[in-house]
Symmetry: none
Subunit: 211 residues, 4 copies
DNA sequence: GTATAAACGAGACGGTACGTCAGGTCTTTCT
DNA sequence: AGAAAGACCTGACGTACCGTCTCGTTTATAC
């Protein structure tokens, strides 16, 4: 899926723009080094301990090279995350013939993602979102929406097969399924386990299917 | 309910301690001025833009007067929020005789809270939680847990009356009910409405009760 | 001569001000450390290579401690110079009974000063004067004017004794005597020697006295 | 007088070099634009506020185009000044038959120059000289020395005619005459007037001639 | 009543990071 | 091959807050 061309880039940091600018082009090597450094640091010490100077030092470049590309450290981290997210974190829906099984499996990989190193990163980004509107928009359009679309497609298969009632509020259903997972991730009051997701799937789908 | 005495205070900021210290006592006026200033600033510019110096300036006092009372800015804000929260934001559970109705009503006031001015403050604090561990712990112990306890008590009434199966995972159920609301609050991908909570309540409880 | 109280301080960096300011007083130790560091660096590498960060590092203090006291690095150096100048560089006029001899001797010590380490510093400061008006005013009032007053007093003795005609323009005479010395110092086209001063004294005084 | 060929060019920036280089020739238009921009800026804000980037911006060219021609900003300004100086500021010595009259007249035009707009520029350059050794050397060889040579020639005429004693130290005499003028220009303690020059000429020459 | 203990405002202190600027060098495309 | 544009690394700029530390003053209790 050629996602990059479809989704409007909120963050104007694209280097491989076809309309060549004059002057020396920005180094792709530096671009990547900055993103990697930012990712590494944020996972080591968290967002608030992350500094532009630290990124520059680790990436072997200068602060200015960073400021030339992104306006805030939040934007850097977001880009770094999305770079990884779209390529390495697929979270695919299987098509087992049973909607419930499809979700049980996919949500299992979501839980795995959220409890791993990217979970910390994600919650950090969500922290940034509460403050920065641009960041929020970028996050929604580049991470959340693509994922919700796919989720709705999986649910639609269930409706088409008669497993789910056709009049259901898809948006509410998606929130009911994933909301509890992120709830635990963000509040941290309890460990996020597969047991939770099993409970949620059971409650939500049994309520819908048993009618 | 004498909540303040039950819950162990993480933040040792109680002023009206009966064991009078020698020397000049801390000014209650200053105490309140600091909390008000912190609350105002955090609502205006968010947690990360909040500074101790800013609070001191707005409160017409000195940094030291703040540090004497709280160790971090997170603690100040949390105290300020909780002052408001415990007094002005009751979110009570009615006892209608039907668990589902009890929750439908209570969650309606939660939605009202989250969509009002305190919703912004809450999401700001949740943003801060992702960054500041101390803030997170204070938030959980002084806001979240008391609320969860009360919620579980309301659910227990349902179990006792036979409305809910006794073997259910209460924690998972609480997350299933409230998670979707906070999900929308924090991601902002859709408006948080009472329609959502009706859908969630229907899905979750119908799934459990219809068996 | 209690110079410090007479001359109005252009640079408001005086610490031993009798009108106590509120808050923690500025450290005299740091004050001195900054001045010494500035003096040392300026003599080693010159004014343009001097940086505030360098001064702070050498003085074992912070940039802010410097900015709190002086607005520019020029002001720091000026203060440092004047501190030394007023205490350690006396350039006294003897009273031999002969004006010409008085000047020959005093100017000899001026030449010695200008060709020594303070000569480099002085020319540096004169460079700064061309750029910074405040600096210029400070230099004139705290270094130049006291010196000119003393010089005129020495000349007056000559007039009183009948060695010099009473109608002479004292300011022009002072410039005629010292101008050539500073001319060589600043343009650096020729070495500044005692021979020059002897020539100048001879030309100027012989012209005046032989009438 | 073919000055350009006599004086060794410290600054290798000559454009109308007869030995044609290969490739596209440097634009004379740009050359002039840079010099004009430099001159304008230095007169507006002084040497220390002058930047290469500022010159490039004002001249509508790039930094590299400047670096291709001059090694330092000092060199640019010096070239700009000398361009003006050699063409528009002649300061000629008349040959009236009387050395004293010759100097009185020539120095009058010097005073006029120093008190006009070029006086400010000159003092700025002299400020730069104290800081930048290269600038100093360029200034001496291209401005000062030619002027001193001419001055000495004028004095020699006086010696040849018997107006001045043949054994005098010409360098000291030149400094005695012009030093006081520059002294006032650079220290700014008194206005630079023709009265001063009259006094100086009288003192210096009367001392020498009356023997 | 008078110590005395602590809070108070004010602000200096050594730090760290900020975001900007200019230096001087380089790489690319255009002319 | 020069010109312009602009990226590059470097390093200093002046500022903002941090959390701590004097100061001199004020306000309570405790002796």
């Amino acid at each position: 899926m050629s996602q990059d061309s479809q989704i409007p880039l909120v963050i104007a940091a694209s280097t491989n723009n076809s309309v060549r600018r004059r002057g020396r082009p920005r180094s792709e090597r530096i671009h990547q080094a900055i993103l990697q450094a930012a990712l590494a640091i944020v996972q080591e010490v968290g967002f608030s301990e992350l500094t532009i100077e630290g990124i520059a030092a680790r990436a072997g470049t200068s602060k200015l090279a960073i400021y030339r590309r992104w306006p805030t450290k939040a934007a850097v981290v977001m880009e770094a995350f999305l770079d990884q997210a779209t390529s390495k974190l697929p979270l695919p829906f299987p098509d087992t013939g049973s909607v419930v099984d499809d979700f049980r499996r996919q949500m299992r990989s979501v839980v795995k993602l959220l409890t791993g190193p990217y979970g910390k990163l994600l919650s950090t980004l969500l922290g940034g979102i509460q403050i920065d509107g641009q960041l929020a928009e970028a996050f929604r359009s580049r991470w959340l929406e693509p994922r919700r679309m796919e989720t709705k497609r999986a649910l639609q298969r269930g409706i088409d097969r008669g497993e789910l009632p056709p009049e259901i509020d898809l948006d509410a259903l998606v929130d009911a399924l994933y909301g509890p997972l992120y709830f635990r991730l963000l509040f941290g009051h309890q460990r996020l386990t597969t047991k939770l997701l099993d409970c949620v799937v059971e409650m939500v789908f049994d309520g819908l299917t048993s009618k």
